[in-house]
Subunit: 214 residues, 3 copies
């Protein structure tokens, strides 16, 4: 399988699972059906769009509109399932973790394919993986989950490093992409299950007064 | 009248009415005069800027700086009028509805002019129409109005479809743009007046606990 | 010293001080260490990234990855210092003011170097100077400081005008950049120290009802 096909498949998968996570968040916020569609779309295509704009590449979903169809169908199906079974916190966390893994590796592949340096590949990977979820939380007027707690960006950064390393050692796009993806997903699941968090930054005393800001 | 002139005029009009809506929102949030100018500018040029970045076109207000002058003058005049008459909720809703209509059709025209497919034209139209208002609400730390209730994105999507259809049938830029614009504006006004909302997504039970998120 | 070197040095300095301000805000929000890194990065490179995307230039930190190293090192050092000495409101305000000054002039220089008109140079300058801080506050789910009070955007606009004027009179990049920078920084410090604010926009009566929005 050549690299571009792997990238294509990964992007499709990432779009699908992030759409699910967007719909679930919108439902929790009691938005209407089009609100859910907008949040699903932004979550699904936000990270990849930012990646393409920054790398000065054609935006992936404008090139291949199948991505949008995937968002629409996934949104409809998710709403139907949620309507029957009620929202599930665990499902949201799983979809989000898988989307993070998939887009992280897709971002890494695109940056590596352009011959960027190691650190730039890792940064583009983490950005592609997390930006969609950050935009989703901003749309819902919340402090983005990724910034607050749990091993999240950490998982993306570590997985991207694994991908670059394996790609350099083995030169097999499928193997290195698969391993990187499994690494991000596994690390994120572990963090959720064991509730492992990095320590919050809380120093001696915060001079926060009522009415004062910043 | 050739298409490019219609597009130009529409963009000017959209910039003006969205600037009004931005100023009104800033006033409600008790920002200072420059805060109002920033919110007005972002609301007015946000949607079109996103459209141009995604379509890899020169950003419209960098090409033609008359747009910025329109924002400045409209902001000043709106502040003067508000100072005399006090803020009006109805005026804000009207300006917002008209801005939505104008930018939706301007987005549709630009995308159609690049030969994009039907669905892509509709998407770019809805995005151009709603992005400015979404950025306005994000700047004011609120959940964007468009996502919460009322027929909003729905109006943009329907109106863009009307535009594409008429353009395909009649091939008259002025007629199809005018009809699409009237359709979006009318549908939005109807929704405001009759207070028609799409049903909110609220399922069996939401497992929201105090302190828990997502 | 040729202009491009001045620009380069200014961008490096701006990235460093805005990274400090990002870390400080993240600490006040009790984020974890990677949250702090993300907020620092977005604050540091957000304004310049927006400038480059809008002007259709290569994104500066993708071209020269030294910027990212600066963010990483500054973030680490700032966390170490904060850990020992506790967060300081005054330090945050100083770093923010200096970042505003540096990026305002860097934005003005890049726009002037492309031969843009006076007003466009001032706009790009103010946008480059304020966008990073606005993104920082959006990530922290707050109404951006710049929009609420104090002479902030005003300082950027005035300083950019000083820069363009001096550059036109003297044609010395270093002198005009230095004067513009000092002007923004001085005006901002004065506003902080004397607590000078523009009057908030508050009109006769705001028809805000509980439960009503916009």
């Amino acid at each position: 399988m050549e690299p571009s096909r792997v990238l294509y498949g990964l992007d499709l998968l990432g779009v699908a699972v992030f759409a699910v996570s967007g719909v679930m968040t919108a439902v929790r916020k009691e938005m209407d059906i089009f609100g859910a569609l907008v949040v699903a779309t932004v979550t699904a295509i936000g990270g990849g769009t930012l990646r393409d704009l920054l790398l000065d590449q054609p935006v992936f979903w404008i090139e291949h509109q199948v991505y949008l169809w995937v968002v629409f169908i996934v949104t409809a199906v998710t709403l139907l399932i949620l309507h029957r079974k009620g929202p599930a916190l665990r499902g949201l966390l799983l979809a989000d973790a898988f989307g993070l893994a998939v887009f992280t590796i897709s971002g890494a592949q695109k940056a590596a394919g352009m011959g960027l340096s190691f650190i730039m590949v890792v940064i583009m990977a983490a950005m592609t993986g997390t930006a969609g979820g950050i935009m989703r939380d901003i749309l819902c007027a919340e402090i983005p989950l990724v910034l607050q707690k749990e091993i999240y960006a950490t998982a993306a950064i570590a997985g991207a490093a694994v991908y670059v390393l394996l790609q350099w050692l083995l030169a097999s796009p499928v193997l290195s992409a698969g391993s990187g993806l499994a690494f991000v997903f596994g690390l994120r699941l572990l963090a959720i299950q064991r509730n492992i968090n990095l320590p919050r930054l809380r120093f001696s005393r915060t001079p926060e007064q009522p009415g004062e800001r910043k």
